[in-house]
């Protein structure tokens, strides 16, 4: 009996899913762990010398999320999703993150919650995650560079986390920051962007049920190159809004400065909603290439999530507030 079957039989409830093993996390990231996260993560340790395949799959316990929030499109291959990444902290080539993200140490990790909240503090990751049941959401991901993927994320709604820390009535925006540590993130030694990476959402966007904090994908702990140990997923916005390896969440009254819109305000707006009718100044946003396909497909307004989120932008001129 394989370890997987054993776990399935003894530990996992019917609806829980456990995906197989993976080699990717063999790097330093493999320490992402479990003992630290009782109830959340469970590590399948390398079985023994007898097991020939390198495997340090870290399966997660989770439920499927609400059906209406997931797409039934086939997910992008795990291979492509973990080897074709924009994560400039590890280099600007899309293959760089897979090559260099081994130096990131996603454990121990803590997140600072501050600003307009009643219960600010620096929270160890395991405490941050403990109360939140994990669920799977299969989302489309549309990059501003006109390619797209379909990713099965594992996480929980950002809204649930924010509520826990009790935002004050003055909180109108949420600002996020990625880790700043050139030792762990060698791409930060170069000034390709103004480090640390910053992103932000308006409060109603942050509280929307589609907005996810992810700790895993494809049933397993997030690989470093995909933003371990904690990242944002906002599926109706261009990918760069979904900030990775978060160390700070700040609630505030004013609109936060965000990295790409600071880098080039003409090309990247604060909202960055997927919109086929508003071209990037240099290229068309009307179509996209789904990774794994040769043909381009039309890009959907708000990445196909208009039904759920269009009301957030009622009355706004999305050409101006792009």
């Amino acid at each position: 009996m394989s370890r997987l079957e054993m776990i399935r039989a003894s530990e996992i409830s019917d609806e829980a899913l456990v995906l197989g093993r993976r080699e990717l996390l063999r790097s330093g990231a493999a320490v992402l762990g479990t003992a630290l996260l009782p109830g959340c993560f469970r590590m399948e340790a390398e079985a023994s010398e007898a097991t020939p395949k390198p495997s340090s799959a870290e399966a997660l316990h989770f439920r499927p999320g609400p059906v209406e929030l997931s797409t039934d499109e086939p997910p992008t291959s795990l291979r492509d999703a973990t080897r074709y990444n924009n994560f400039y902290e590890f280099g600007t080539d899309k293959r760089d993150p897979a090559r260099h993200a081994g130096s990131l140490r996603p454990r121990p990790w803590s997140v600072v919650i501050e600003g307009e909240v009643r219960r600010p503090g620096r929270i160890p990751l395991e405490d941050l995650l403990r109360p939140h049941p994990l669920e799977e959401r299969v989302y489309r991901l549309r990059c501003v560079e006109a390619w797209s993927m379909v990713i099965p994320w594992v996480g929980f709604p950002l809204a649930a986390l924010l509520k826990r820390f009790e935002p004050t009535s003055r909180a109108r925006y949420v600002a996020f920051e990625t880790l700043l540590d050139p030792e762990q993130m060698p791409g930060q030694r170069r000034h390709s962007l103004d480090w640390p990476y910053r992103e932000g959402l308006r409060m109603d966007e942050a509280m929307h049920p589609l907005t996810l904090l992810a700790v895993g994908m494809y049933g397993r702990v997030l690989p470093n190159q995909n933003g371990a140990p904690l990242r944002l997923v906002v599926p109706w916005k261009y990918g760069f809004k979904s900030i990775k390896s978060i160390v700070k969440i700040r609630l505030q009254r004013s609109r936060p400065v965000t990295t790409w819109s600071q880098q080039n305000p003409r090309e990247y707006g604060f909202f960055a909603n997927v919109n086929p009718h508003v071209d990037h100044p240099r290229w068309s946003q009307g179509r996209e290439r789904r990774i794994g396909e040769w043909h381009k497909r039309p890009t959907l307004f708000l990445n196909g999530y208009a039904e759920q989120v269009a009301s957030l932008y009622r009355g706004m001129d999305l050409r101006r507030d792009f």
């Binding site: 291979r79 492509d80 080897r83 074709y84 400039y88 600007t92 899309k94 293959r95 560079e145 390619w147 170069r190 390709s192 962007l193 880098q263 240099r282 290229w283 068309s284 290439r289 990774i291 794994g292 040769w294 043909h295 381009k296």
Partner: protein
């Protein structure tokens, strides 16, 4: 006339220039390109077109500095290979990125400045490729040399095209720009002397 040794070296070089294209073809056939194969094909064919163009520009200064007249025919070879890669680049863009829609070509060329300059660079290379033969060289005489100065604007437009598609990291195009700048300076300084 070059010595036989030079001629065979030149022949080997001319053949070797096809290697990047062969590699791409083999990788494409074996599904070994990156996660976005179209992007990969476009990027690499474009990059090789630029590399060969820069290399062709380096031939004359190198020939003069080293006093090696045998290098002379390499300029045409490298220039023609640059044109070949640029043609593949443009064709793949049309077929794979625009899915063969000719109307889209016009729209992209007129609407997107980085496409405009890239397309212009290609157009400048067309007459150079056509008149690269000995007979055209004879027919045009003194005008041939002047016509072939078009390689300078072509390379500058190609660099601009490269620079314009980058999002944040300009290291690579900047390195090429520095190389081209150096070569053009060499050329100018030679003229003055």
């Amino acid at each position: 006339m070059a010595r036989p040794g030079w001629r065979s070296a030149h022949r080997i070089l001319a053949g070797a220039c096809a290697l990047p294209l062969l590699t791409l073809a083999v990788q494409a056939a074996g599904d070994q390109l990156g996660a976005d194969p179209v992007e990969d094909l476009l990027h690499r064919t474009g990059l090789w077109a630029l590399r060969f163009l820069v290399a062709s520009l380096a031939v004359t200064p190198l020939r003069r500095q080293l006093g090696l007249p045998g290098l002379a025919p390499w300029r045409r070879t490298l220039g023609l290979w640059s044109f070949a890669y640029a043609s593949v680049h443009l064709s793949l863009w049309w077929l794979l990125d625009l899915e063969g829609d000719p109307g889209q070509v016009l729209e992209e060329v007129t609407k997107r400045p980085y496409v405009t300059v890239g397309f212009a660079a290609f157009l400048l290379l067309v007459p150079l490729a056509i008149t690269s033969t000995r007979s055209w060289q004879r027919r045009l005489r003194g005008r041939w040399r002047r016509l072939h100065l078009l390689v300078h604007p072509a390379i500058l437009l190609a660099l601009l095209h490269f620079l314009w598609i980058e999002k944040a990291d300009f290291t690579e195009p900047a390195a090429y720009a520095a190389g081209v700048g150096g070569l053009l300076l060499l050329r100018l300084s030679h003229r003055r002397v």
